[in-house]
């Protein structure tokens, strides 16, 4: 499949995630949107990795390692995202316990 499809798909996913982060007020949905953005980037990384590998094979390099870094990045991002989710969910739980809401507009104490 041409790389363009992957590009457009991940761009669409990223935009959806970004708009969600900007417009929604529910902390959990914002969280999900952030995950969406992260995974859009993951998708892009994998797609490019595959593309470079394919290109190296077609150039006649049989035992090539081209594009393997992209896959590695994806693993790292997944690990970081998992850690982030655990921390973020903990924060949301604490927030709910305190103000009985997950609306981030109640969370404007940041300026104090």
């Amino acid at each position: 499949m041409p790389i363009n499809y992957y590009l457009f798909l991940s761009l669409a996913l990223f935009t959806i995630g970004m708009v969600g982060v900007l417009t929604r007020r529910n902390a959990i949905i914002i969280f999900m949107c952030i995950e969406l953005m992260l995974n859009a980037v993951n998708l892009l990384l994998v797609a490019f990795s595959k593309m470079h590998y394919q290109a190296a094979l077609e150039a006649g390099q049989l035992a090539t390692q081209a594009g393997v870094e992209g896959q590695l990045f994806v693993f790292f991002i997944m690990v970081v995202a998992a850690a982030e989710v655990s921390v973020g969910l903990a924060i949301i739980v604490m927030m709910y316990r305190n103000i009985h809401s997950v609306d981030i507009n109640f969370l404007n104490r940041l300026k104090h």
């Binding site: 970004m18 982060v21 900007l22 007020r25 981030i104 507009n105 969370l107 404007n108 104490r109 940041l110 300026k111 104090h112």
Partner: protein, 634 residues
């Protein structure tokens, strides 16, 4: 024997060590010790100078190279000392007269606090050090270091009693006036370096010899450099138009005046031009200028001195006048005569200043000669030595001043009869005002208070001994330059200086010389008689006419300078302060501060605490940065 030349660095180093010792240890030394340190170091320099002088007299001379002071690419300024006839003679004058002044100071300054006493001697030693550096340096840069050093030390010493605002104002005046001249000196120095690439006297003169009046060193270059050096000399040596600092320099202690006026500082300008005589001989226009400036200064200062009533002011103006004579000699090409007059003048002017210090000491600080009179009976030694000084400066044979002044007058006579007539007039005025001073101070009836009369006493030995030595020198000092018309095989000084200063050959008959000598001597004696008639029994309260008032107010030159230069300068400075400083520079600085404060106040509102807004701003700014990068990459 070059060994003694290798020791030449001790000559300036000893006073410097003395200055450091006295200056740093001023709180721990007592008066005896700091006086001893101050005098002994200069005495050591004097002994070394004597040894060097005799070596030079035996025909030795040379440049002693110590290290490279500055080295940039192919251009280097060596730290080296020039030892030849001219510098060794100046060394003797500076250290010899300087030593006597140091000895005198130990008694004169004895009422000072020990710490201030040591500070005084530290300055005095530093002064001698700077002057020695000035005459020893083998290039214009080392000379300039000494040149600046004496300027600094004169400032420190004139403002020695710094609690008196008038004295610190006088110190400022001296320093600022000197700086004007120093600027011209610096420009000349840069001009020399740009044109020739060397600063050493020998190298530079060789360069001039080789390239004179060619494209590499045109007649304009020579004229500009000589005029700039002369402007520097007018500052340091108190010539028109920069002379007004010297009479004010008497704000310092009296021995300091003796040091500034006689042995150091003011002779620096003469030394500079005498040292560069080879260059000046190529610039007839500059010489013409110098002779007229010197002559006008001599006349103006002599006329002012006639009507002054402060004992030190009369002497100060007489110094300006005598320096005018020296420049007149330089301007007529008689460099050796100028140096000769520097030497004799150092003797009798130091004598007169120290004598006046002795009088002031006896009178308990009184300086107005209208309140003196009849001191000859009480101050026997001071009176006799002061009398000798007056005779010497007036130019009565066979005292020293006669021979040096005669050499100058002869040279002027050959140069231009008009200048001769004016110079003779200045010489006659000298005789008149000096004897007016003498008679007002020492003869007639005592006009001071009873308390002062009771207090009158001869000064201690440490003060009278230098007076006696200087009096002897004032008598015999001129005998080294007796003209050939009087005794065969004479003009020893001219022959001594001949390696540095070419000997002038006078195309003048002995009869003319005799006539000139007789004329000047006769007129001088007449002036002395006139002064005697008029001031022998001076009574205060004689009404002064308008002309005398004009003279007493120094032709209003100070007021003129104040109106023409100082006042407009203050106005300009005030305007700059009020407009440029307050509105411009302050406005700029404050404006930057205010802009930061204002924008910070506005930006502060963005921090609302709304997480959504933060995220939006973050996204927006990232988008903007990406766009910028995108377009810039293009």
């Amino acid at each position: 024997m070059q060994d003694i030349f290798q020791l030449a660095y001790w000559i300036p180093l000893l006073p410097l060590l003395g200055a450091l010792l006295n200056g740093l240890g001023r709180n721990h030394l007592n008066r005896t010790l700091s006086g001893l340190v101050g005098s002994a170091t200069v005495l050591g320099s004097f002994v070394l100078s004597l040894l060097i002088f005799f070596q030079v007299k035996a025909g030795q001379s040379g440049v002693v190279h110590y290290f490279d002071f500055i080295r940039v690419g192919s251009f280097s300024i060596p730290f080296a000392f020039q030892i030849d006839a001219l510098s060794s003679l100046f060394l003797l004058i500076i250290t010899g007269v300087g030593f006597l002044i140091h000895v005198y100071s130990t008694a004169y300054m004895h009422h000072e606090e020990p710490a201030h006493f040591a500070r005084y001697f530290a300055y005095l030693n530093l002064f001698v050090f700077s002057m020695l550096l000035l005459v020893l340096g083998s290039n214009y840069v080392i000379l300039f270091m000494g040149w600046e050093g004496v300027g600094l030390c004169s400032y420190l010493l004139i403002g020695y009693w710094f609690k008196n605002p008038a004295y610190t104002a006088a110190a400022n005046k001296a320093f600022i006036m000197n700086r004007i001249g120093d600027l011209a000196f610096l420009v000349a120095l840069f001009w020399i370096i740009t044109k020739s690439g060397v600063v050493g006297f020998q190298e530079f003169f060789a360069f001039v010899q080789q390239h004179q009046f060619t494209d590499r060193f045109t007649a304009t270059d020579i004229t500009v450099i000589t005029v700039l050096f002369f402007i520097g000399a007018t500052g340091k040596s108190a010539q028109l138009p920069l002379y007004t600092w010297l009479p004010d320099a008497m704000a310092g202690p009296t021995p300091v005046s003796a040091l500034i006026h006689a042995a150091t500082m003011v002779t620096a300008g003469i030394y500079l031009i005498a040292r560069s005589n080879m260059l000046y001989s190529l610039a007839p226009h500059t010489l013409h200028l110098i002779s007229w400036v010197g002559l006008m200064t001599a006349l103006l200062a002599a006329s002012i001195a006639v009507a002054q009533n402060d004992i030190k002011k009369v002497l100060a103006y007489s110094t300006v006048s005598q320096l005018g004579f020296m420049f007149l000699a330089l301007g007529t090409g008689a460099y050796a005569a100028a140096v000769f007059h520097v030497m004799t003048h150092a003797f009798f002017k130091a004598l007169l200043f120290l004598g006046s210090g002795s009088v002031i000491h006896a009178m308990g600080g009184e300086q107005d000669i209208r309140n003196m009179g009849g001191l000859s009976k009480k101050l026997r030694v001071t009176y006799i030595t002061f009398l000798i000084g007056c005779i010497a400066i007036a130019g009565v044979p066979p005292f020293s001043g006669f021979f040096s002044k005669d050499a100058i007058l002869l040279s002027v006579f050959l140069h231009s009869p008009i200048q001769y007539a004016l110079a003779l007039l200045a010489a006659l005025l000298t005789a008149f005002y000096m004897f007016r001073l003498l008679f007002l101070t020492f003869s007639g009836r005592f006009r001071g208070t009873q308390e002062q009369l009771h207090h009158l006493h001869e000064s201690p030995l440490a003060m009278t001994l230098p007076l006696v030595v200087l009096a002897v020198l004032s008598i015999v000092g001129g005998w080294v330059g007796i003209p050939a018309a009087l005794v065969p095989d004479a003009e020893a000084l001219h022959h001594f200086l001949s390696p540095v200063i070419p000997v002038l050959t006078h195309a003048v008959s002995h009869e003319t010389e005799y006539a000139l000598m007789a004329l000047s001597t006769g007129l001088v004696l007449a002036m002395i008689a006139a002064a005697w008639m008029r001031y022998r029994n001076y009574q205060p309260g004689t009404p002064a006419n308008a002309f005398i008032n004009l003279l007493e107010n120094k032709w209003y030159v100070d007021e003129l300078y104040h109106k023409l230069i100082v006042h407009p300068f203050y106005v300009l400075a005030g305007w700059l302060r009020a407009i440029v400083e307050a509105k411009g520079i302050d406005g700029l600085v404050n404006g930057v501060g205010r802009a930061v404060q204002y924008s910070a106040r506005q930006l502060r509102l963005v921090q609302s605490g709304q997480a959504g807004l933060y995220v939006l701003l973050m996204v927006l700014s990232m988008a903007i940065m990406l766009l910028i990068q995108f377009f810039i990459r293009k």
